[in-house]
Amino acid sequence: MRIVKVLTVLAVLLAVATFAAAEGPVLLNAAGATFPYPIYSKWFDLYHTAHSNVQINYQSIGSGGGIRQLLDKTVDFGASDGPMNDEQLKQATVPILHFPTVLGAAIPAYNVPGVQGELNFTPEALSGIFLGTVTKWNDPSITSANPGVKLPGDDIVVVHRSDGSGTSYIWTDYLSKVNPAWQSKVGKGTSVNWPVGLGGKGNEGVSALVQQTPGALGYVELIYAIQNHMPYGKVKNSSGVFVKADLASVSAAAAAAAKFIPDDFRVSITNPEGKAAYPIASFTWLLIPSKFTDSAKRDVVKDFLKWALTDGQNYAEGLSYAKLPKEVVAKEMKAIAQIQ
């Protein structure tokens, strides 16, 4: 009996030792989008607390830089506010997988002299304003959506982001979907050739210009608007309902689009169907190579993804990010198996 006991103890010790040896230090480098940086750094920090041998360094250098560094293999994985295009994917030596992590949205912020309260915006009005075809606040396309509000005949001063950003990507992606003229003349991107308007640097630059300039209309990232208690307008979605952006209506947009999400998750969810869906929202993605040469890194990445998509989601709303709907999480959990 005693011998058995001793042997058991030895066996347990041995098992622990092997386990510990398998859990050597793992250092992962990642780079990319600035928009999800607060939640990513929270996740990496929490994950490090739970797994002290894992250290993930994330540099928020922008989506473009993240994609480039991933293609150059100077980082283990990347992050982007816009999906990689086919041309970029072709440059990768191993196929790159997209994993949506949280959601972001862009909201219209404005400064109309004499108007308090929320304005309603139709897709026609927003795209017309940004194309420069709607130039006055009392244009019929705006007044018809705002019965009872006395809008002045002031000029509309359009304000957009001057720095390349995921927020501009969401905004222009939406305008491209709702207005064919925008699609053909301007298109979508982190920076575009804006037909009209002033450029402000960052959310803070846009909101400063909007607040200062009478008659201004600009777009700002939802989190920034929430955290700074900025008033903003409702936007008419494809079901004809004017929806105010908040975490629930943004998640609803993703849920509404869930059944159309392709297997590679490279999808735009702007202007989705669904009564509760806010139409100007988007995923932000982690870009993960489908093959890791280092199996320790691979296991950590897979485990981290599983955690971030499940338990990690609970930290999103505290930082004002909209959570992934469960349909999307379920689909992503299956896709994790593709990482080898």
């Binding site: 600035t34 250098i61 922008g62 989506s63 473009g64 830089g65 994609i67 480039r68 816009g82 295009n85 041309e87 970029q88 000029d155 001063v157 001057s162 720095d163 390349g164 950003s165 301007v186 298109g187 979508k188 991107g189 982190t190 920076s191 575009v192 050739n193 804006w194 308007g197 002033l198 450029g199 402000g200 640097k201 630059g205 400063a208 210009l209 200062q212 300039t213």
Partner: protein
């Protein structure tokens, strides 16, 4: 006397300098080498910089050629890039800045060097040096929150009313644009003009002032006709230093210029500068052509600085050959 230590010393002196000289010659060579390396490093950095910009901009250079300099479009989505609005914006804002900062800075320097009491002069210079050390983002924020509203509500309407017949002062007042960017730049570069100009003015020999006064010149005549011309080259130097700063300034300009690639005659119009567009778009530039076009813009800025500096040196050469500049830059 010949046996006293004093008498011995001279012979030792003659011996010591010779060995010292020999030793110091070695040290001279070392110093020569070290300073040469320092100078060569600077040159190497400049050459490497241009080389890298040249290599990395290859795609845009072959695609657009010389038309890059005259194309007004900047469309990252369609992949159509031209540098004209950015070159224009950089030159216009720098010109506005110099027009304001040079009279202000040189005027203040003359006052501080010639007229103010030494105590006042040194304390004001200290304040000016402090201004030069303020990070540019602070100037940008002050521009956005203080200058822009004043420009929109007061200065631009006033300019429109008085000088509105000039195309320079027409169009809607947004508060941001070329003029505001130029003013913010001017505020940023005044300390450079002031500080260097004051030093050069102070370095003009006292004899020259006294000679002028002795000949019956008034204080002002001695300052304006003798001291300032003598310090002219140094003052030019301060202006070029300021110009270099204005050309390359990024953050403060981005925050107040309006970031719209437009070539417009009106100073009220929003515009864009080379340094601003680089700061704005570099981090999110995804396509290879896009990135290489941005890098070519960096090359253009380098070229612009080079050409302007060359012109400046030419100006100095011409005026020095004619005039009586006594101080090197």
């Amino acid at each position: 006397m010949a046996t006293t230590p004093n008498a011995v010393t001279p012979t030792e002196f003659t011996a010591t300098p010779r060995s010292l000289l020999r030793r110091w010659t070695g040290a001279d060579e070392i110093a020569h080498l070290i300073t040469l390396i320092a100078a060569a490093t600077l040159l190497l950095i400049a050459v490497l910089l241009v080389y890298q910009l040249w290599i990395l901009s290859a795609e845009a250079r072959t695609k657009f050629g010389w038309s890059f300099f005259v194309t007004k479009t900047w469309d990252p989505v369609a992949g159509d890039f031209g540098a004209l609005p950015f070159i224009y914006g950089t030159l216009v804002t720098s010109a506005v800045a110099l027009l304001i900062a040079v009279p202000l800075g040189v005027g203040a320097a003359i006052f501080l060097a010639e007229l103010a009491t030494p105590k006042l002069s040194s304390s004001l210079t200290f304040v000016s040096d402090l201004l030069a050390a303020v990070p540019s983002v602070i100037y940008g924020l002050l521009g956005v929150f203080l200058l822009v509203p004043v420009m929109r509500t007061t200065i631009q309407p006033a300019l429109k009313k008085t000088l509105g017949f000039l195309p320079l002062f027409q169009g809607p007042s947004y508060g941001i644009g070329f003029l505001t960017a130029g003013i913010v730049l001017a505020i940023m570069i005044v300390p450079f003009v002031l500080s260097v100009s004051r030093e050069v003015l102070l370095a003009v020999p006292r004899d020259q002032r006294e000679a002028a006064l002795a000949l019956g010149a008034t204080k002002w005549e001695s300052t304006w006709k003798v001291v300032v011309p003598a310090a002219r080259i140094g003052i030019f130097g301060s202006v070029f230093l300021a110009l270099a700063r204005a050309l390359g300034e990024t953050m403060a300009v981005t925050m107040v210029i309006g970031n719209n690639p437009k070539v417009a005659a009106s100073l009220f119009s929003p515009g864009y500068s080379i340094a601003s567009v680089l700061a704005n778009e570099f981090s999110e530039a995804t396509g290879n052509l896009y990135l290489s076009a941005l890098i070519e813009l960096g090359l253009v800025l380098f070229l612009l600085t080079f050409v302007l500096n060359g012109l400046a040196r030419l100006l100095i050469l011409v005026t020095t050959a004619r005039g009586s500049g006594v101080l090197p830059t």
